[in-house]
Structure formats: C-alpha cells, structure tokens
C-alpha cells in the first residue's frame, strides 16, 4: 500500500513501533537471559513513537504539503510481529536484526521525503534511525555471544 499523507505515515510509524515493541516483549519471554535488554528496547519504542508524534504535531501546518509529502510503500517495511516459533536463539536474533534494518530504512526514507518540512520532522526520523542502528549493533553483539 502507498501512503502519501503525513497523517497516514505518522500512524504507520506508530504501528511499526507498536509491532516492534510487541516483538521484543515476546523475545524477552522466550530468552530470559537477554530479557532486560529486550524490554528496554520495547520501552524505547514508546519514546520513539512520542518523538515522532511530537515532531509532527509541532510543525504540521497548512503550508508544509501535509497531504502530498510522502510516497511510502508500506510493504517494504513490514515485518513479522512475533519471533517465529521453534526458532533457535541465533535465528530469532537475526529476525530482530532484519526488523531493525527495515525500520532504519523506513525512517531514513521518511527523513529524505520529508525534507520539505521544517527541520524537526526529518531530524527526528534520522535520530530514530540512528538509535536503531545502535540497537542493531547491540543485537549483533548478542548474536556473537550466542
């Protein structure tokens, strides 16, 4: 599905953050050794959602092409909402890394497309993308230990 309006893209971001948080909660249940880390990720998602919403509500005005700002193909960024059953630890972590990469790609693309907005929106998207890159590094480190 293609999204063009700011409202729909922000809602999509919220949905992705929610799904990703749910994914980490399941991971925490299944892998108690890293539960603390996964629950931290889940909590961080809520912060990211707030950051994105705040940026949108802060700058949305009738002058920023709100209804014509984006060309977001949602299929590119969707991921499994739960770690697949019967996966080995390493495979589940790879699934998480894949999810993070999709989210990084979403936020990077959204930042590029929202350059016409006041700086707050693309900047926020890029901050979330950067934080997720750090998260990807942590997941990779965990993968090495596994």
């Amino acid at each position: 599905m293609q999204l063009n309006t700011s409202a729909s893209v922000i809602s999509f971001a919220k949905q992705l953050e929610g799904d990703s948080a749910g994914f980490y909660e399941k991971m925490a249940e299944r892998y108690p050794k890293a539960a603390e880390l996964f629950l931290t990720f889940s909590k961080e998602n809520k912060n990211y959602e707030t950051m994105v919403q705040r940026a949108y509500y802060g700058v949305i005005t009738d002058a920023i092409e709100g209804c014509f700002a984006f060309t977001v193909e949602t299929d590119k960024y969707t991921f499994e909402k739960e770690p697949a059953k019967k996966l080995r630890d390493a495979d589940a972590l790879n699934q998480a890394i894949d999810m993070e990469q999709k989210l990084i790609s979403f936020y990077t693309d959204a930042a590029e497309q929202s350059k016409a907005f006041m700086a707050d929106v693309p900047r926020t998207f890029l901050i979330v993308a950067r934080k997720r890159r750090n998260r990807e590094d942590k997941l990779r480190a965990l993968l090495k230990e596994t």
Binding site: L3, N4, T5, S6, A7, S8, S11, F12, Y57, G58, V59, I60, T61, D62, A63, I64, E65, G66, C67, F68, A69, A116
Partner: protein, 497 residues
C-alpha cells in the same frame, strides 16, 4: 489506515457565549451539516440584534477591569489557554474536519497555526512596550504608551473556522481589549470549543464573547457605537462594499481581508520534483477553499518539452489524489463546504470552457470517492489549459479545486499578468535561479510572495498581508501589526517644574 473517530456524536446545540455564560438565543435555528455525508451535526442560532447588543454591553462592562489587569496577568490567561488548546489538539482538529470537510492533516495544520497566534500574544508584556525620549527639551521627557481601546468585533469566514478568528482574538485580549467573535454560521463548532477552553482558562466574564448568526449580527457589530474596530475575513464584495465603508462611516478602525486569485509562476529551471507536490497542496489543498490557494499557474518560456513534462507531471499527480472523508488519514482532498459552493465552482469551470479554456482533467465528473459517501459536495481536481488572463476563471475568485494553465514567453509578461489582476493576495514563483526569484519578489505587487513555496502563509509573528482587492485597511492581522491595530498610541510630554 483507519478512519479516525468523530468527536461530535449526535447533534450539538450551539449557544452564544456572553459575559462568561452560555446563553440560548431567541433567534431562528439553522442546521450545521457535515459536507462529507450530509449528516446534521449541530444546530446553530441566528442571533438577534438584542443578543449582539448584550454581548457588546458585557464586553464594554468588562473592559475597565481587564484594561487595568497587568499585561503579565493577561498573558497568564493566554498561557493557560495555550495549554488547554494543546491538551485538546486532536479533538479540536477533528471537529474542524467534521464541520468543514478538510483533511485531518489540514485541520491539524490549522490548529497549529491558530495556537501559534496565542503563543505570540503570550509575549504581550514585551510586545506592548512603548518608547520614550528623555530631554526632548530642557527638563521635558516624552513617551509613547500603547493603550487598549475597548471592544472589538471579529468576523470569521467558513474556510478556516478555528484559525482565522485567532489571527485577531489573542492580540485583542492580550492588549487589554474585549472581543465579540462572530463565527461563520456554517462552521460554528470550532469557536464554540475555543470558548469552552477560554472559560476554563479563567478569562474574566465579558472579555471573550461569541455570538453566532448572520447578517443581523454583522450589522449589529458594524453599527454599534461601542465597538472600536473590526477584523473581517471573507469575500471581496463584502469586504469592499460593506465592511470597509461602514467602518469608515461609523469611525471604526478596520482590517478587511477579501478574496484572491493567486498565480504560481513556473520557470523552466524549477525543480519539478519539488514543485509539483507544492502545487498540489496550493491548488487542491483545503479543496481550493483558501485565499492563499493557487488559482492559475503561469508557465514561462516557449520550451514545449518542459511545458509537456510539467503538464504531464501535474496531471499524473492530480489524477491520483485520494478524495474522501477527511477523517480517513489516507485522504488527500475532502469535499467543498456545501452544495451552493460546489454549484458556484461548477459555474466557473463551465465559464472557463465557454471562454476557450481546454479541460484536461475534469473534476466535475472524473473522480472517485474513497468510501461510500454521496457526491453531493465532492468535486475532483480540475485542470484547464489555454487559459487567458482576461477569462473569468482568472479575474474572479473561484475558491475551489481548479487549476488554470496560462503560457507566457517572459518573466516580464508573467509579472504583468499577476499585476493586471485585481487581486493581490499571494503570488509565488518556482525557480532555481536566485536572480529571477529576486526580480519577481521585488517587482510583483502582491501582499504575500512565495519563492518555491505554494502556500504563502505568514507565520503568526508576521502580518498576514494582502493588497488591492484582497485587502482593505492599513494594518494587518497577526504579530506586531495586530498589536498596533488593537492599541492607540498615547503620547505623553512631561515636565516637573
């Protein structure tokens, strides 16, 4: 994406807000209809002369106390109002969509713009400072004190029910005046919601009043001897023939903002990828019901290849616009406000065709509505080529989702086309050449000038400008000019022998 929940369920009975109380009107009651589905969402009173008189009386009575309230204390009321507006941001935005039909992005944008005016007015302790000169003669000092005047009337239009009264109201009350707002009777809910928050914010009774209605209320404001000034936003005929002369006759100061027929000048060196989305918002955003909307593009030069690329780009994008219920987050264009307005827009499209314009996208019939809604108030985007500056679709305001395309050979010709038009509200140029942009900005006789910006909407800390048939008055709404408008300069010369 889901369709957002409607905040208004059932039928709201709109009341007047006078002297800090919700007052029933003795006037006739009219329906407020959601243009998306034809459902009645509110009943609004068409108030009587006695009711507008009682609001003015309440405002006049509140003035002496409010005027002596220190600016910092008045600002605190505005800070509280700002907090409440933020807390209710989403509901206020959805109400606009329900009563007007605009998309949720547009409504949220309108809410933000309105709040920004409250934020600017919160700076009143600084904004209202005067100035002084010591020793203008030996032992004599002179200073200027901006002083409030009394009661002001604020008459709002239908196209921005939330924001436009806020171009004036926060500045009027911040400077120590009291106000009577008359919202458009077609869209009274946003101002009712704001009044509820004003009440909660603790403004003293009588400072902020809202009286719903039509001509009787407008006439009551215009003729009332206790009203010092009026701000009005609406059509040019009303601004020019009614508001402006009547304020002159009754000695009121006035800001009367009228209609527009804006041009977007397209240079062949523009960045088309950035220009086309900007044009979509400009022409089709708010279903074209915006005094800053583009009405015609002027494509400069005789490069046919660029022209074709431009027209095809615009056409392809416009064809894909998702039309429907503004509460559906995917929708890019809502309906026009009502059937009368739709009829008027259709009349202009037909007149354009009759005068020789070639229709290349027919918004009269060539569109789909997302969801099951009647097409009563819906139109698609219309694009017409071979438009000439003398056609009615250029010289008059359409106020709908239409785009005319005019071709000229030079920038001089483009500027002349802009300048020959009776309206001078907002014109913009799209170019990658700084010199061309400067030339346009310097020469075009327009109140609001855009450079690679499709909707030239000044921020709250700048005046909302306009010239010729788009504006009648001297000072404008918003920012420092509004502060100046709502105050008189008292000059004191002082000697202590």
């Amino acid at each position: 994406m889901a369709i957002l929940e409607e905040p208004i369920k059932g039928i709201v009975e709109v009341k007047n807000y006078i002297d800090g109380e919700w007052a029933e009107s003795k006037g006739e009651i009219q329906d407020v209809v959601n243009p998306v589905n034809g459902k009645i969402i509110a009943k609004v009173p068409i108030s009587t002369k006695e009711e507008i008189d009682s609001a003015v009386e309440a405002a006049k009575a509140a003035f002496p106390d409010w005027r002596t309230t220190p600016p910092v204390a008045r600002a605190r009321c505005l800070f509280r109002l700002k907090e409440l507006l933020e807390a209710n941001f989403e509901e206020l935005s959805r109400v606009q969509t329900q009563e007007h039909g605009k998309t949720i992005d547009e409504s949220r944008g309108e809410t933000r713009r309105g709040i920004e005016n409250v934020e600017v007015a919160c700076g009143i302790p600084t904004l209202m400072q005067g100035y002084n000169s010591e020793d203008i003669a030996s032992g004599i000092d002179e200073y200027l004190i901006p002083t409030p005047l009394g009661v002001f009337g604020i008459i709002g239009p239908f196209n921005f029910p939330f924001m436009i009264p806020l171009w004036s109201a926060p500045y009027a009350v911040a400077t120590g005046n009291c106000i009577v707002i008359k919202p458009s009777s077609e869209v009274p809910l946003s101002q009712m919601k704001i009044a509820e928050l004003v009440d909660e914010a603790g403004f003293p009774p009588g400072v902020w009043n809202v009286v719903n209605g039509g001509r009787t209320v407008v006439n009551g404001i215009l003729d009332h001897p206790d009203i010092e000034g009026i701000t009005f936003v609406g059509s040019t005929p009303t601004a020019r023939n009614v508001i402006y002369p009547r304020c002159g006759a009754t000695g009121k100061r006035v800001i009367a903002q009228g209609g527009a027929s804006n041009f977007m000048v397209i240079m062949p060196d523009c960045n088309l990828r950035a220009t086309i989305p900007a044009l979509m918002t400009s022409f089709f955003g708010n279903a074209g019901q915006r005094c800053l909307a583009g009405q015609n593009v002027i494509v400069v030069g005789d490069d046919d290849r660029f022209y074709k690329e431009f027209v095809n780009g615009v056409l392809d994008t416009a064809k894909k616009i998702i039309i429907g219920n503004g509460l559906d987050e995917e929708v890019q264009m809502g309906p026009v406000r009502d059937t009368e307005k739709k009829k008027k827009i259709l009349g202009y499209i037909n007149s354009g065709i009759k005068e020789g314009a070639k229709i290349i996208l027919d918004g009269r019939s060539d569109f789909k509505i997302k969801g099951s809604y009647p097409d009563t108030c819906f139109l698609g985007p219309t694009i017409m080529e071979t438009v000439k500056p003398e056609m009615k679709i250029v010289t008059e305001e359409i106020f709908g989702p239409t785009m005319g395309i005019i071709r000229v050979k030079t920038l001089d010709e483009a500027i002349k086309t802009c300048d020959d038009n009776p309206f001078h509200n907002a014109d913009a140029i799209f170019t990658s050449n700084g010199r061309t942009a400067r030339e346009f900005k310097y020469r075009v006789k327009s109140g609001n000038v855009g450079i690679n910006v499709g909707i030239v909407a000044p921020m709250a800390f700048f005046p909302f400008s306009g010239m010729r048939d788009s504006f009648f008055g001297i000072l404008h709404t918003q920012g420092k000019e509004a502060i100046r408008f709502f105050t008189e300069s008292k000059v004191v010369i002082e000697r202590w022998p």
